[in-house]
Symmetry: C2
Subunit: 451 residues, 2 copies
């Protein structure tokens, strides 16, 4: 029988692709371990006009704690692929490089360097797989969340996605990322504990069905949670359900915290439910909607149909980023031993050199992003890549999740309004500085001549 939870802080070093380690063995043998610079970036997709950056804290934690245990080393030995000298090197392995990164909660665009690793080549290589793994899902969900937030107006958003996330880690990251992206909380209890995110819950259809009648089910729940019951009303007939909730609340002499609609024509049902609740004096009762919700449905219900909905539980579509289940993202070598590096193969050309991303705001919105050499300067620009880890040590304090969330919602206001469209592809293409463009062209020319 396998151990259920495969990944723990002690064995994360093996959570890597085999070639990272075999390449490392070769580098080790050949003494190729100079300073390398890698960039993590997202390639353009017409499904997202902007991205909300997230996941950095998880990456920092990984880099600061990465090690190979004796058990890992024993496993690697028995694969027959590694020398004792190299295994000894792994035994003492520690990330000793620099990490430059854009803050979590910042808006980023395709082709921009979001993370820049500068480290001995072997180290920079071994961390690749986890780095992409954790940043991709973090950014995917944070971006999906802020898209929901962008159209929800006053309605609150709660992450209901744990059961449909791709495994347990995705469930946890989705709770964290959606909170950054403007959600008020999650149904995921462990995320509440691990991240201090507010936890939310209502009741399930099975709860109603385990009782002989819906009314009895409502009464049982409300008598235990008199101030905290959101009645799930759609098990048999939604409006009858609302009436039963009202009946029970009156009988127990309590307020109705809210009702939840999980199926049917929720625009119409929410209006009818609102009328019933108001007519019976439950004006403070909220109407909460779940079931197949995404940013498009939120927009339709809140903005187009003006449905009186106070909150949404967003699950599957949020945590799987269903309309864009992966990012075409990459982690590419751009410099080795201070020499710029470039890949020429068709369609996937990369931009060489250690970089900085410069952002220029105008009237409170993002006006221009410039990718330049690391040491360039542009007036009135903000340098987006910040040094988080230097020589393997944390040199910048990490904000709390709450601070990241607050900053994200402020940053969201700097997104040009045209980019906020859910249907039209309108984005910012970062400029490449004159100096970087020129040096990249020279390098390409040189490489072509060499071939």
């Amino acid at each position: 029988m396998t151990v259920n939870r495969f990944v723990n802080k002690d064995n994360m070093s093996l959570l890597t692709d085999l070639y990272e380690l075999t390449m490392a063995q070769v580098y080790f043998n050949k003494g190729i371990n100079g300073t390398a610079v890698f960039n993590f970036f997202i390639r353009p997709t017409n499904k997202r006009n902007y991205f909300l950056n997230a996941g950095l804290e998880l990456l920092v934690d990984y880099l600061l704690n990465l090690k190979f245990t004796e058990e890992d080393i024993d496993f690697l030995r028995q694969t027959g692929r590694f020398s004792e000298e190299f295994l000894e090197y792994l035994r003492n392995f520690k990330f000793t490089g620099n990490l430059y990164a854009i803050d979590e909660g910042e808006i980023v665009f395709a082709n921009e360097p979001i993370v820049q690793v500068e480290a001995p080549l072997i180290e920079a290589q071994i961390i690749e797989t986890f780095l992409i793994n954790t940043l991709q899902i973090s950014i995917l969900v944070a971006t999906k969340a802020i898209r929901c937030y962008s159209v929800a107006e006053k309605a609150i958003l709660v992450d209901f996605g744990l059961r449909r996330a791709h495994g347990t880690d995705a469930g946890m990251i989705a709770s964290r990322s959606s909170y950054i992206g403007g959600f008020v909380g999650t149904s995921n209890v462990l995320a509440g504990k691990a991240f201090g995110i507010p936890i939310y819950g209502t009741m399930a259809h099975s709860f109603i069905m385990a009782h002989d009648t819906e009314e009895k089910a409502f009464e049982d729940f409300a008598s235990v949670y008199p101030e905290n019951t959101i009645f799930l009303v759609d098990t048999y007939d939604s409006l009858e359900g609302v009436k039963n909730a009202i009946k029970v609340a009156k009988k127990l002499g309590i307020k109705i915290k809210g009702i939840r609609l999980d199926s049917g024509d929720v625009a119409t049902l929410s209006r009818e439910a609102r009328k019933l609740l108001d007519a019976n004096g439950f004006r403070d009762a909220i109407i909460f909607v779940s079931g197949g919700i995404n940013e498009y449905k939120i927009k339709e219900l809140i903005q187009d149909k003006k449905a009186p909905i106070d909150g949404f539980g967003v699950g599957t579509e949020l945590v799987t980023s269903a309309d864009l289940p992966y990012l075409d993202c990459a982690y590419k070598l751009v410099e080795y031993e201070r020499k710029p590096k470039i890949k020429l193969s068709r369609k996937k050309m990369t931009l060489p050199f250690k970089k900085q991303l410069f952002r220029i705001y105008k009237n409170g919105t993002i006006f221009k992003d410039i990718i330049g050499h690391f040491d360039e300067h542009f007036d009135d620009s903000v340098k987006m890549l910040k040094l988080y880890i230097e020589n393997g040590e944390l040199v910048r304090s990490l904000p709390s999740l709450k601070e990241i969330r607050e900053k994200a919602l402020i940053n969201f206001k700097t997104v040009p309004n045209t980019f906020k469209s859910l249907n039209q592809y309108m984005t910012l293409t970062p400029e490449i500085s004159q100096r970087l463009l020129k040096s990249a062209e020279e390098l390409k020319e040189k490489l072509r001549l060499k071939q």
Copy 2:
């Protein structure tokens, strides 16, 4: 700073939706904890004609080990939602129910009960979130894998998806599920260790770029792994890359294990590469292809274009099940205290009663599936739901992963050929037994009268 790996075998009980625990509190207070039966099933989707079942071992492991630690209980206490008596109940919590399940590696269809839990209501409810979480991603990837396998003919398939999986757990489960679904191995080293899956690797573009020339890069790698080098040839120009691999192999006097094409028109490039390799005496060298591969591309390359490709690295599209990133799956109450249960809300009607799934084969292929009452009998049918856990104890031995894989590939042969189409929606709709149909109709009638 948060601890990076959030989920471990001690805290999995909190990996649940808050409402599971608040409903449990209500059940506890009201003494509602009779035997409940829940069914896990997948709703129809026209994107999959059949599913490959997977994930059961992970669920069994969870059920056998589930507990609430003092730390969990302290967290729950400080949420202010739970009574001391209930927290004491959780302190002694253990899954004491029965688990009926279809074996891993079996073919299943929409609406069929894949897992049936029979347990005290509170227990059956608390496990819901994890059960859906782990089965969904396991089945999604196993099914995507067998679809790739179904069109790959003699080409081998390797999981390259860890970096693009949704988090670490999905990366591990994807390696496991794709192995069940006919893949020969994975690039994920930790999956190799945890599950005993063969691990595979080649080299990255960064490896080539870290050297001054491709030839030098090839020579460095091949001199360390003379019998085990797959040369990545597309960093600059794929066919020049093949020539460089040949040059290096001749210089070192070694065989070429293979070359990898990761971009460009791989149908044409593989043919040209094959010619070059053969002309130089490297007839055993394999041609391995990666980069945006899915079942459609494998079919196009192998079956339509007859490209001489010996293996594929399948990554992103496999591990995210990109064309179907989630299953519309559910875990529904079907019986409580031996009384059948049904949900009437529109479109999402459920089938009541504790069930058995009966499969009838004809000429070696699946001919008919019948969903019946648990105690029914059909001549020449196989009872698909087997008792794995009885009163909280494992009563059926779990096959090894290798055995599951072997069985899956045999089971795959029982899928009617028409269902194997990648483009046409042709599936099997399970019949409902006369007796079950009649009792379900009676129940519906009774409920409607009651309302």
